[in-house]
Assembly symmetry: C2
Homo-oligomer: 455 residues x 2
């Protein structure tokens, strides 16, 4: 250990910090640990009471769970991992590097390792990957009394006990679900199935966003995940779903902003990672946007004859991009919320077409007024054919805004149709699509209206 | 009734539909009712068993709850309203027109009316407006057994019984909270306070987004809302929070897309409403973007001398807008998730400055390569000073992308600082901000690099 390290570790007193954290809310402790370098955070976790340590590691808000587990001595880390919810533990194990991964899994008891291994098998972002195997299930021949006694006994080791799953005593398939509130109001000697209702279920490979929608739609505390034969594999709980929705939102906003989604908090992203995630898209958009230069080169002759046309290029292009961005954001959410289905694209087109025409006409009018005013007030001289120039600008705006609205609204449909997330449509992407065509619309309008005068 | 109406009502048989809906999940019934005209939906609701009707009206996903309540005979509507969760009922009453509002409130029992009136007093989007008053509370001198017996008795009339709130027997202030899972494992004769923990609480005027953050952070089923004196006013439950988060997301994405947030599902928005919500922003952006025309007019002389410069205007401007949009989307989410605080703006600036410079340099290089290639391959002739033109484009890109990244990242901070939602920053707004300055950067670079040659 170098002197500098020794000095730093001298200044950081893990024992004092750990002692001061006892009794605080887990979420607050997590926030403090997130600010420490992982080795220091690990030292604090080691000194906390085991129950608190497990509770903290269980929080998905903990940024460096894997690093902390890795930094702890294996004989300390293994029981913590075993104590955690299987779904969060599996998440951490997924991030571990070798040899830590194998060493730690080797130190786990068979039950914990089995649960974690099972979850690791499911791809990320599926119901299987976020479900927990710590649920309460009872056979269908039990009574209400038996079930309550069993719950009291296992309560501490289950993530939720608010939904109790009843398995057929012979086939072991999911036969029903009983909420704890119905259970405690039930008649003690009654059969548990007399209180059960048919649960809403999902499958392990279902996208976690669809599970979130299911839970939000039916106001569920948890949704059971079953295999094709109807056996209960695990449950997804409402708190995991809240985290999922927040994470997906962040991804959606970032993607809409025109970049690859970033998982880490802003101030913790590595510079290289951030440059890559922003740079790749920026470069792709840049190269596509180069087509605008080609279009301009193509119309160079017209530009030379009527330089006045260039003055309005940024204005017209940005209006197309803006109307496209509005339409895209509307349809991304409409598709995400299932307000609109893929098959509704035609109805959407029928709404966007008049919307675009009217919005374009409004902007066109403002544009025309501007040209007339500047000319009449002597602020700028648009030349002999100034009125025709104004009409060209107005006509181009109608075309460009209509085109922007239609393309912007159709893009999410097209993406979903070819199997992408409609939320991958970004404002910059729409703007780029609209820019090239927008220029062509502008120059075409000019050729039509100004031929024989300026052109 | 006109013949057409009679024919339509003949075709629509509410009784048959209502009968077929019995036993379906409430969420599925809601989906079907959302597709019917409100008077027809009301007719179906009237024919459903009362318990089912209440459950359906309780779903925030029901689009025309207020219209349905209004279309029902008052003597049918009043008991339904009384049976609903007070928070959803208050939401519906808020949307009712007079005289329906006063008539209905007059027909309610005192307890229900009191609860609804109390909630109506809180402004929209606050904890008070989304909380329910149907919680379970018990005095602090009760035993576990007494509490359990009480819960069994009131269970049907409470929105959630998974958290039980203990009020001080003398002051009636909130003294603690007990989860149902702890309660059922408790020793029956023990005092209820022996199981209670200090609850995480909020106040009625707190923004619902902050309540959502609190619930997500601590994985709560519900958070109690108290007044300054510590009296329990109501609770906000996790399912309301999930709905809140989803709604806020939709608003954020739409605002980021550059429009006012729209509450109704896309296909149900009135044309006038949509035109207004999109048109206002589009016009504001358009008028601001007119500054680009002014900048171009200012540099008209330069443009005439070096028309080649106009070819790259769209390319350079869009790159600035894109990098700005990326930075804004990153910071909007970072601020919303509290990854970054207002006081961190300086640190963010220190990250965005080099990020922008490096990204700009990357794009600049691509731009320069494009000019060199087109020239050398004979695709286009940029004139005698083609290399200097390429260098101008590259230099402008470095400046514009850096400016875009910095402005885009600072905008959410500025909005938050002056009291707006940082999520009001939109991609089109950033693009507009960056466009005007971007043009000035480009022309300044040109004046600097091309003076004495082209200019």
């Amino acid at each position: 250990m170098t002197d500098t390290n020794a000095a730093r570790e001298g200044a950081f007193n893990a024992a004092v910090l750990a002692a001061s954290l006892i009794g605080e809310h887990a979420a607050d402790i997590v926030e403090i640990l997130n600010k420490l370098p992982p080795p220091d955070a690990a030292e604090v976790v080691r000194l906390l009471p085991r129950e608190t340590a497990v509770e903290i590691l269980d929080k998905p808000e903990l940024d460096f769970g894997a690093e902390i587990i890795e930094a702890l001595p294996r004989h300390v880390a293994a029981p913590l991992l075993a104590g955690m919810s299987a779904d969060v533990a599996a998440d951490i194990v997924r991030q571990l590097e070798e040899p830590a991964k194998t060493e730690l899994l080797g130190k786990l008891d068979d039950v914990s390792r089995g649960a974690i291994d099972g979850l690791l098998a499911y791809p990320e972002n599926t119901a299987g990957s976020i479900m927990t195997t710590e649920f309460v299930s009872v056979p269908s021949n039990w009574t209400v009394e038996q079930t309550l006694a069993y719950i009291r006994q296992v309560e501490r080791t289950r993530e939720t006990i608010y939904a109790i799953y009843v398995l057929d005593q012979v086939t072991r398939r999911l036969a029903g679900a009983v909420s704890l509130r119905r259970l405690i109001s039930g008649d003690p000697p009654a059969n548990i199935m007399s209180l059960a209702s048919k649960p809403i279920t999902t499958f392990p490979l279902v996208d976690r966003e669809d599970v979130a929608r299911l839970i939000a739609r039916h106001d569920l505390l948890a949704v059971p995940v079953i295999d094709k034969a109807g056996h209960l594999l695990g449950i997804v709980t409402f708190d995991d779903i809240i985290d999922t929705i927040i994470e997906e939102n962040t991804e959606d906003v970032q993607k809409f902003g025109g970049m690859e989604a970033i998982e880490e908090p802003y101030l913790q992203i590595g510079m290289g990672d951030m440059l890559r995630k922003r740079g790749v898209w920026l470069a792709v958009l840049f190269v596509s946007e180069m087509l605008t230069a080609s279009v301009m080169q193509h119309f160079e002759g017209e530009l030379q004859k009527a330089l006045v046309l260039t003055l309005f290029i940024p204005l017209i292009m940005s209006s197309g991009g803006n109307s496209g961005s509005q339409a895209t954001s509307l349809l991304i959410r409409a598709l995400a919320l299932r307000d609109v289905k893929l098959s509704d694209w035609w109805q959407v087109m029928l709404r966007e077409l008049p919307t675009g025409l009217l919005l374009g006409a409004g902007l066109g009018l403002i544009g025309l007024v501007r040209v007339v005013m500047w000319q009449k007030l002597g602020i700028y001289d648009y030349g002999e054919h100034w009125l025709l120039v104004g009409v060209t600008v107005a006509a181009a705006l109608v075309g460009v805004v209509t085109f922007g609205s239609v393309v912007g609204s159709m893009l999410p449909f097209i993406l979903q149709r070819v199997g992408f997330d409609p939320a991958s449509a970004s404002a910059p992407f729409v703007a780029t699509l609209v820019d090239v065509t927008g220029l062509m619309i502008y120059f075409s309008a000019a050729l039509l209206i100004l031929r024989g005068t300026l052109l």
